[in-house]
């Protein structure tokens, strides 16, 4: 997976980037299954590998697929990444040990869901129960996010061509 990311950084042909993206997101799905996150794996596989690959490719159909060579010095980006990385390392170092049940993470809210979800919602898949009922509001928000994104794309792309041609003339020239 890390190899795929390095491949993405290095390669300039956007198609390669998309291919590697597809492989990357699939490997992520496998890791998720290993972490018992089955629903998430399915979503990542469906959305990550399926949809974003198709969308990226549809875009590449419209856009030049060669990336211009790097122009300015990579110093600032490296600095930014270094700082963020350091902060993350600092933060994650003393997180509770991996895989243990008795950590606060898995002791506080999760047991309730595991115990009562079937009783209260009749759905053996606790994730679906939490997703739709306990934290149903999050999912409503999430559906609204897709709705927003969808309409946003439609605003940009499916508007009449008249607007598209007018768009290219710069605002200032047409006072």
């Amino acid at each position: 997976m890390v190899a795929a990311v390095i491949g993405v950084i290095r390669s300039r042909n956007l198609f390669v980037v998309v291919m590697l993206g597809g492989i990357y997101s699939f490997l992520m799905a496998t890791v998720m299954v290993a972490l018992d996150a089955v629903d998430v794996a399915m979503t990542e596989a469906a959305v990550g590998a399926g949809m974003s690959t198709v969308l990226l490719l549809a875009v590449l159909g419209l856009v030049k697929t060669r990336e211009a060579p790097l122009r300015h010095s990579p110093f600032i980006p490296l600095l930014v990444c270094f700082l963020t990385g350091a902060a993350l390392i600092y933060g994650t170092l003393s997180l509770p040990p991996f895989g243990r049940q008795d950590t606060p993470t898995n002791q506080h809210v999760a047991p309730y869901y595991i115990k009562n979800s079937v009783k209260e919602t009749g759905s053996p898949n606790i994730v679906t129960a939490v997703l739709a009922s306990y934290r149903g509001y999050d999912t409503l928000g999430e559906t609204t996010v897709i709705f927003t994104g969808g309409i946003g794309v439609l605003i940009l792309l499916s508007t009449s061509r008249r607007r598209r041609l007018k768009q290219s003339s710069d605002e200032d020239s047409s006072t």
């Binding site: 933060g91 606060p104 999760a110 609204t144 927003t148 309409i151 946003g152 605002e171």
Partner: protein, 495 residues
């Protein structure tokens, strides 16, 4: 009626959400405007009733889906977010009548409805973030408002609106992801996502590394959304090249909600005096705030596009607010929240007026505006009044908030900060003065000569805000006094 009273918190967000969906469903321009208008006004009324109930009964807790926190998602309304809800829904309710004229002129029926849909979704997102008591829910609704605002900005007349929206998307998403990382670290340490349950569990693990890292990530994330000084690069283009209605709405509300988030995290959750003030964060914020106040104001002075100038001015005013936050005392927080309130009114009004000028003249370049003072007297008069309020001239709302900020600084004995506050206002005077001078003391160009005054339906909403800017300069029972009560809650980390 009693049942409806209980359901107010949910109603506050569901109303604009359903309205947005209806707009997208019918896709008929005028109808969408009516839906937007009615739902904005209704959500403002809901905010008012909520505030009254909070004043009466204290903190309201509402369990969504009937599950008690921390298992379900909880809406918790106290004075702080009731105050912000009022600002957001108020500004939005005022702006909607204004939009009809300029939007119907530029877009066809479907695009109009989509614009209103985006407008309502930004409103839904912002209200959702302000009212929710659940950490992850904040992220979800933040993304709703952000995505909708990216789309709205991209609908600007100028092609540069597209790149501005793109930059805003990139930086906004990085910000949101930082926030999620912060929330994740906190969840990993406590197991809960409910803000107030979290606040209860934080003291024991206060200075463990993940909690400190979470604080850092959250601050950086929210600062990105807030456009706090070094992270403000996306704001000027976004406000300048987006439609004026969008700039007015976002300037009036989006940054305010980000500030609310800072307040909520620093004081209510991270325990204000017990934790936040011990970290080096207040010092850093103070420096950044001062930098914002000066650098942004100076840059604003040299702008030729007035909308960009006002955008930089927003960055500077945010610096003022963050300065108030960095002191973490009752008075300075009152000043910060009052300025949040006043700045929302002022900046929304200014952008509306600029929108009117854009609508008539087609440009907001400073040279193009020479001698416009006579041709669009009401618009420019409004601009002067709001400009004065921005400077903080007495008799306007701006003065009150700057007064409290100054007082806050002096109480800490840091009189040199007072001088900085004051000289920053001086810088504000210079760039406002530039516009006033061009507008009034220059011969009108030929385009300006045959200009007519802005249409009335664009003017009266702006004048509503102008009246508010003056009214709250004198009677502060709703702005400063409310802010003070909220500040008391914040300083003692009451939840």
């Amino acid at each position: 009626m009693e049942f409806l009273q209980e359901q107010l918190p949910a109603l506050q967000v569901v109303l604009p959400l359903v309205a947005a969906s209806l707009c997208a469903l019918f896709r008929f321009g005028y109808l969408s405007w009516l839906i937007t208008l009615s739902s904005s006004i209704l959500s403002f009324l809901v905010a008012v009733f909520l505030l009254l109930r909070v004043l009466e009964q204290g903190i309201i807790s509402y369990e969504i889906g009937g599950w008690s926190p921390p298992f379900g998602i909880e809406y918790r309304v106290d004075l702080i977010n009731a105050f912000v809800l009022l600002i957001v829904s108020g500004v939005s309710a005022v702006i909607v009548p204004y939009t009809q004229k300029s939007i119907s002129a530029r877009f066809d029926s479907t695009e109009q409805s989509w614009f209103y849909c985006m407008y309502l979704l930004v409103l839904t997102g912002l209200l959702g973030v302000t009212i929710t008591g659940d950490a992850f829910n904040i992220f979800v609704f933040l993304e709703i408002s952000s995505l909708a605002s990216y789309a709205m900005i991209a609908m600007g007349r100028d092609r540069r609106g597209l790149t501005a929206a793109y930059q805003y998307l990139i930086m906004g998403t990085i910000g949101a992801t930082f926030i999620v990382i912060g929330i994740g670290l906190l969840w990993a340490m406590t197991g809960t996502l409910n803000l107030y349950d979290l606040a209860g569990r934080l003291p024991e693990i206060k200075n463990t590394r993940p909690v400190l890292a979470a604080l850092a990530f959250l601050t950086v994330g929210v600062s990105l959304k807030l456009a706090l000084f070094p992270l403000h690069l996306w704001l000027p283009n976004a406000y300048a090249y987006g439609p004026s209605v969008a700039s007015a709405f976002l300037a009036g509300t989006a940054t305010k909600v980000a500030i609310y988030l800072l307040l909520r995290f620093f004081f209510t959750i991270f325990g204000g005096a017990t934790f936040f003030t011990e970290t080096p964060l207040p010092e850093i914020l103070k420096i950044l705030a001062l930098l914002a106040m000066f650098a942004a104001s100076i840059v604003a002075i040299f702008q030729s596009n007035i909308k960009r100038m006002l955008a930089y001015s927003s960055v500077a005013q945010i610096g003022f607010i963050v300065l108030g936050i960095s002191y973490a005392t009752e008075t300075s927080l009152t000043g910060a929240m009052t300025h949040m309130f006043n700045h929302a009114i002022m900046k929304a009004g200014l952008f509306l007026l600029l929108g009117a000028i854009m609508f008539r003249l087609g440009s907001v370049k400073i040279e193009a505006l020479s001698g416009i003072g006579r041709k669009m007297p009401l618009t420019m008069a409004g601009f002067v009044i709001l400009g004065l309020s921005l400077i903080g001239a007495p008799g306007t709302a701006g003065f009150i908030s700057k007064w409290y900020l100054g007082l806050g600084a002096l109480e800490q004995g840091e009189w040199w900060i007072l001088v900085l506050i004051v000289s920053a206002s001086l810088l504000t005077m210079i760039y406002i003065g530039r516009v006033v001078e061009v507008a009034y003391f220059r011969e009108p160009t030929d385009e300006v000569v045959q200009l007519k005054e802005a249409p009335s339906e664009m003017l009266w909403p702006a004048y509503l805000l102008i009246a508010a800017a003056i009214y709250f300069g004198f009677d502060t029972s709703f702005s400063a006094d409310l802010a003070r009560q909220a500040a008391v809650l914040l300083v003692n980390a009451v939840y």
